[in-house]
Symmetry: none
Subunit: 227 residues, 4 copies
């Protein structure tokens, strides 16, 4: 997984075929991701992305219309991977509600950058992205939510519509919980030092698991009530 020529100076080969262009696009996203792992979103400039990707600044704009569109694409990729993993899990039998909550929590906790991106989504990313791009993104998202939602209903024996609803809720819950659990470093230190603030210090995985379990349990309870 090592990037082979990360900061190659001089003239890059031209991505003349569609295949090469895809590869170049991925390199750029890869570079952006690495920067995101090291610094807050606001601190990442297009210039730094270009440098990290080993291309000129203008080149970025051949692949993404705006800065925000670039990061939306990054989120898009991560969403795809996330739903791939989810679908794979749902295909495997023997899933219980707590088991699912557990699995979700573990998967999410393992993808901190994904959490960051999801949290960014509403507040920032949709601000300066050409409408068509945003809609395309949303369409892909809606599709996967629906498809995985149905699989989820089957696996957990939820009532119709509860699957996608649950996945939608997840998207509302996850960034909120993630942000709450991961304040900026200096703030975190101060909060930890203050006994009065202990109640606000939460562990993402713990809360996620509990909240999710409660929600699923609640949904199933209703099911039983309805049946």
């Amino acid at each position: 997984m090592v990037i082979e020529t990360p900061k190659l100076k001089g003239k890059r080969r031209r991505a003349v075929s569609a295949d090469l262009k895809d590869r170049r696009r991925s390199e750029i996203l890869q570079a952006a991701l690495q920067l995101l792992a090291q610094q807050p979103y606001d601190a990442i400039t297009m210039s730094s992305v270009a440098t990290a990707a080993g291309v000129a600044k203008g080149t970025l704009y051949l692949y993404f219309p705006t800065r925000e569109a670039l990061f939306l694409s990054l989120l898009d990729e991560h969403y795809a991977a996330w739903f791939d993993a989810l679908d794979a899990r749902l295909r495997r039998p023997g899933l219980t509600a707590p088991g699912w909550a557990d699995w979700i929590t573990r998967e999410l906790a393992a993808r901190p950058l994904f959490l960051r991106l999801v949290a960014l989504l509403h507040g920032v990313l949709e601000q300066n992205v050409p409408l068509p791009e945003t809609l395309a993104f949303k369409r892909r998202l809606a599709q996967r939510v629906e498809r995985s939602g149905i699989a989820l209903e089957r696996a957990l024996q939820l009532p119709g519509g509860a699957g996608s609803r649950l996945l939608l809720w997840l998207q509302a819950i996850v960034p909120g919980l993630a942000q709450m659990a991961a304040p900026a470093a200096p703030l975190r230190a101060a909060v930890e030092a203050d006994a009065e603030l202990a109640g606000l210090l939460i562990d993402f995985a713990t809360e996620m698991r509990a909240l999710l379990a409660a929600v699923v349990h609640g949904l199933q309870g209703k099911t039983e009530t309805l049946s």
Copy 2:
């Protein structure tokens, strides 16, 4: 002899007494709130707040150390009002789980600006606020969460700790759901026009009520299980 008209042009009398200072502070926050009702957070400049409040730019900094601190104070006030209302409700007897979910939902839906502010909190407000201010804010928040949490446990007969936990979760859920339900106007229009995206169009109150009911139900279910 003090002129009390809120938006008097020209030199203002000096706010010598603590009382006057409080009033001035409130006027500024009031002005900021009005602006927030009319435009997105990013579009509000300190200059516009000053103009709207009828004071000079520099004056704002006599009352708030940074722009973010100003809005954090605004949020602080709204949180106080919110918890006041919550506490009042919890003091009245005869509360059921669905009734509470219902009440919460209605109250929140009636405070759209509060929702906006809560959504801003993690992403933006805590970025550029002097640590002491942030900690003071968090301390107040923690206190009220704990106090109301206990009252909530009593009212709904939840297990120990579940009350504050629920209130904490609420803070994670509310902004996410609010943002999801209220995209920027042009985006909203496009989403509504696209059949494929119908699934992403949610109503805040509907989802809030359902999600909350499920969570509470889930928590209560566990309680019963535990007991």
Copy 3:
């Protein structure tokens, strides 16, 4: 076998013969002209010219060394046409001073794009054109000015040198008057709405005719004085 459709997408046949190259060159200039009719000069990008001409961006540079050189060539063509018309008129007998002023005015008013280009000439076009191109252009211009100048002297019975002088002056006057008569649309609207500004609102043809008549009359008067 050659495809002649002007805006064919996809790979174009190569313009092997000199004839084909000329045709291609003309197509490009034609495209640039059409764009100029629709938008201000600054808004026209090489990219848009290429698209409009149905060729790739790089192809433009096979025919014109710089963007400015392209538009200078466009002006060059229009100058040629203009002088052709002028010479033709001068060849027809029975020309009076007012008649000539009239004819000039009508001809110019009928060529708004030519006026735009002439106005551009000094300010912009000569900035980034390789010297040889500029000199070649100027040489052609000087030649036609001189030739037509002599014809003009004969036709209007002007003293020696007055003909080319008049044509030179014309080049100084025309763009100034044209710009004055045709401000940008929004400005124009505002000017028309303001009674105080009525004096600045001029009609190109009216002023051109009057100014030209005065100049010619003046030149002739001197002639008579001198003789």
Copy 4:
């Protein structure tokens, strides 16, 4: 006339009174003018103006809304000075048509920067100036054109309306002639070296005087005809 502290580093005194603010504004315009004397308009950046004026970049925008507005103000000042001089001359008796043409020519030739600015006016300056500013400028211009026009009619015994018309024409003629007479340095050298281009090499004063004399003569001739 020496600028006393042209590039004073460190904190400048604050221009707190209207008077001081006017002075600061003038300093900025002065700095811009000096830069314009040294380099082409396009090469002048707001940054360089700020440096030359000894203020921060942002300060420029306290006095002028845009770069173009700054230079329009510069032109405005020069126009005022120009009309002041013209009015003063017109007040002195004993003015003949050739005398006036002569005076105008000399005055203009003595103000090369004014010529540059006038040439810039239509092409560039009106592009990015807030409409109110542009209109205010035009109103001032219209007023002076009318007032001086009337004085001119009296002095030269021109028919009614001919005075302002003449001044308007002047504005169309002057930049065109100025540009024609003063090509960019390298181009000028090449033109001078080429015998074929001799015809295009004009002297501003010579042509201005001749053209103006012809125009005035023409206008007067008409008068006589009319009377």
